[in-house]
């Protein structure tokens, strides 16, 4: 058994923003409790925040890029996947214009990743076709 590390973070489910303390052992989340110091929840958690974390370690997590070949999704390298996307996006942008490309961003992601997402659309593809799941 390795030693237990405590990591303070914010819950990733709803918009309440509860502070959590994660007990981590051997690179695994072992237990989650509410953070008593958190201004929002003062130590409380709901069933999702406290217990629905096993997905992080789920066996069916994606661990490699996949690309469709002859109708089937097959494993690829990052380089191959990047090159395919770059070529296709450039081709579509050249042929149809940047308005032919859209992005659905992720409301579960960090502010930092969301900032880079819209910067990618606006600075690289010159498109404002970016939206989140705000409407669903």
């Amino acid at each position: 058994m390795g030693e237990t590390n405590l990591v303070k973070t914010i819950c990733g489910y709803c918009g309440t923003g509860c502070g959590l303390v994660l007990e981590v052992e051997d690179n695994k989340i072992m237990k989650i409790r509410g953070d008593k110091e958190a201004p929002v929840n003062k130590g409380q958690t709901c069933v999702k925040g406290a217990f629905a974390y096993e997905y992080v370690h789920a066996k069916n997590r994606l661990t490699t890029p996949l690309i469709r070949k002859a109708g089937k999704l097959v494993e690829s390298t990052w380089d191959e996947a990047y090159q395919l996307i770059a070529n296709k996006l450039t081709e579509i942008k050249t042929t149809w214009g940047s308005n032919a490309i859209s992005m659905f961003a992720c409301a579960r992601n960090t502010n930092e990743s969301n900032f880079v997402t819209q910067k990618f659309m606006r600075a690289v593809l010159n498109s404002n076709n970016i939206d989140g799941c705000n409407r669903t």
Binding site: C14, A105, A123
Partner: protein, 516 residues
């Protein structure tokens, strides 16, 4: 209003319940007898989609009985006369016929809201997921302005946000019409600020919403779609139609942590990192910025979302490089300093959370927005009332499809359930599959019993699902969530949208139920 707070925002519900013990009166306005009703002072169990009839009647009562705040209205608002005129037909008796409520309950609620020392309206998708969602919100704002219930503690309008960072994602600029810091894309000065920092020329025209994206996909104008951490196939209305549209794309890129139903349709799938594996910040429902910290090392062949986009960007000829999330945050602070300038990682480490706007390091953050309403003698800019009219749900029950289906969430599950399938060992989850929740009277009429599998069909699709007989719903109304891909509720829902927001009418469509 339209918030099943106990199941969708359990910790906020706990705080509300605690406040009841300290004297708070809660009035629940919801078509279902949700758990919050237990602690409520009153439950207005309205017909689905009749919110505007109800609110207009509230406004009319408040006007007739002189319970509004004339000084506040004169100083801070415009179009009061238009509002007065528009709500005139909405007598409590007329509203009662539309909402299914008693006129005296409508009058009593209006009096209580207007005459308390502070009233707040909390709402969620029960208000917005209608063809008239924006009008519903306008009318809530009309009510708050009329009584001056805004800009001070214990008042205001509180939309409870559904995802951990749906507020932040929009604020960062993941919207078709705004840049980081909620700055308008149409504003030349704001655009110039970003163009200088990024060394590119920006497209000044607002882009497409998700709804518009699907419209343009149908017209053949959209060729590529890049989806990050979202499962629109299962989450969007009229699923069979969504599938046909996604099949039309030349390029579908999905970046996710699981091979979701949408990812299975993709041309390229990129493996991202999840919560617990990344650093950064989230913005919660009341504008708090808080630190999210990495707890475990991710699989080495996965990458963070921002890292993927930076590498792709660099390959495509626009080099983007950051060494960590703090570097990105500092660029956000620099560009949108009015909002985040004072919120450093260092300060968050010490203070836990800071409410934006917070323009500089000496600023304490902004706990309450719109305090200007109570601080200034004359208004800098006035707020307009936006009078609206009631319009009935677009697909009403009839002889062929005699039930109204309304959709929502359940306590233990989250959205399309890709994550909440994985509970920690030993946790007993109560609801492990979808049910169609139906009133005992209806169940008896149909001759169906609890646990029986029935067929539910609409004009767009059909599915089989177990019956849950419950008095949470009224006769004529059935309820389902969309958590389980085995029971894809959105094959049933209606593809009609609010014309302004593009939000779909998830809350009302007509269905038929039959024994198998």
């Amino acid at each position: 209003m339209g918030s099943n707070t106990t199941e969708a925002h359990p910790i906020i519900a706990n705080r509300m319940k605690k406040a009841v013990k300290a004297g708070l009166k809660i009035i629940v306005i919801d078509p279902r007898k949700i758990d919050m009703v237990k602690v409520a002072h009153r439950h207005l169990q309205i017909n689905v989609g009749s919110d505007i009839a109800l609110i207009n009647a509230f406004i009319r009562v408040i006007l007739k009985e002189g319970l509004y705040n004339p000084e506040f209205i004169k100083k801070f608002t415009v179009d009061f006369d238009r509002l007065t005129k528009q709500v005139e037909p909405y007598t409590p008796e007329y509203a009662a016929t539309i909402t299914g409520l008693k006129a005296e309950d409508i009058v009593a609620t209006a009096r209580e809201y207007a005459s308390s020392s502070g009233s707040m309206i909390a709402y969620t998708l029960g208000i917005t997921e209608h063809h008239c969602g924006v009008n519903n919100v306008f009318d809530i704002a009309n009510l708050a302005l009329l009584t001056g219930n805004i800009g001070k503690q214990g008042t205001g309008i509180m939309p409870l946000r559904g995802q951990n960072n749906v507020q932040g994602a929009g604020d960062m600029g993941c919207l078709p019409n705004q840049l980081t810091g909620a700055m308008s894309l149409a504003n030349n000065d704001f655009r110039a600020r970003f163009e200088k920092e990024w060394n590119v020329e920006l497209n000044p025209n607002a882009g497409d919403t998700q709804t518009r994206t699907f419209d343009r996909l149908e017209m053949g104008e959209l060729k590529a779609l890049y989806v990050i951490g979202e499962n629109p196939l299962l989450a969007d209305v009229h699923m069979n139609h969504t599938r046909t549209l996604l099949e039309k794309l030349d390029l579908l890129i999905v970046q996710d942590i699981f091979l979701t139903e949408t990812a299975k349709m993709a041309d390229v799938v990129l493996p991202a990192r999840s919560w617990g594996e990344v650093d950064g910040t989230y913005t919660n429902t009341d504008r708090r910025i808080q630190r999210v910290r990495k707890a475990v090392d991710a699989h080495p062949d996965t990458k963070e979302d921002w890292e993927i986009l930076c590498e792709l960007s660099t390959i495509m000829g626009y080099p983007m490089r950051y060494t960590n999330s703090e570097e990105i945050w500092d660029e956000i602070r620099k560009l949108a300093w009015e909002m985040y300038g004072g919120i450093s990682y260092e300060r968050l480490e010490k203070e836990y959370s800071i409410h934006y706007p917070c323009p500089d390091e000496s600023h304490p953050g902004t706990l309450i927005l719109h305090e200007r309403f109570h601080q200034q003698e004359t208004a800098v800019s006035k707020s307009s009332f936006v009078p609206v009219d009631y319009t009935e749900p677009l697909e009403l029950p009839d002889a062929e499809y005699p039930f109204t289906l309304t959709t929502g969430r359940r306590y233990e599950s989250y959205n399309t359930h890709t994550q909440t399938r994985h509970y920690a060992a030993g946790v007993k989850v109560k609801q492990t599959e979808e049910t169609v929740d139906i009133h005992p009277d209806d169940a008896m009429k149909l001759g169906i019993t609890n646990g029986e599998v029935v067929q539910v069909r609409s004009r767009r699709g059909e599915l089989e699902v177990k019956v849950k007989v419950t008095e949470q719903v009224v006769p004529g109304l059935v309820f389902m969530s969309f958590h389980w891909s085995e029971t894809p509720t959105n094959v049933l829902t209606l593809n009609e949208f609010d014309p302004i927001s593009g939000t779909a009418e998830y809350k009302a469509c007509a269905v038929a139920i039959s024994r198998i």
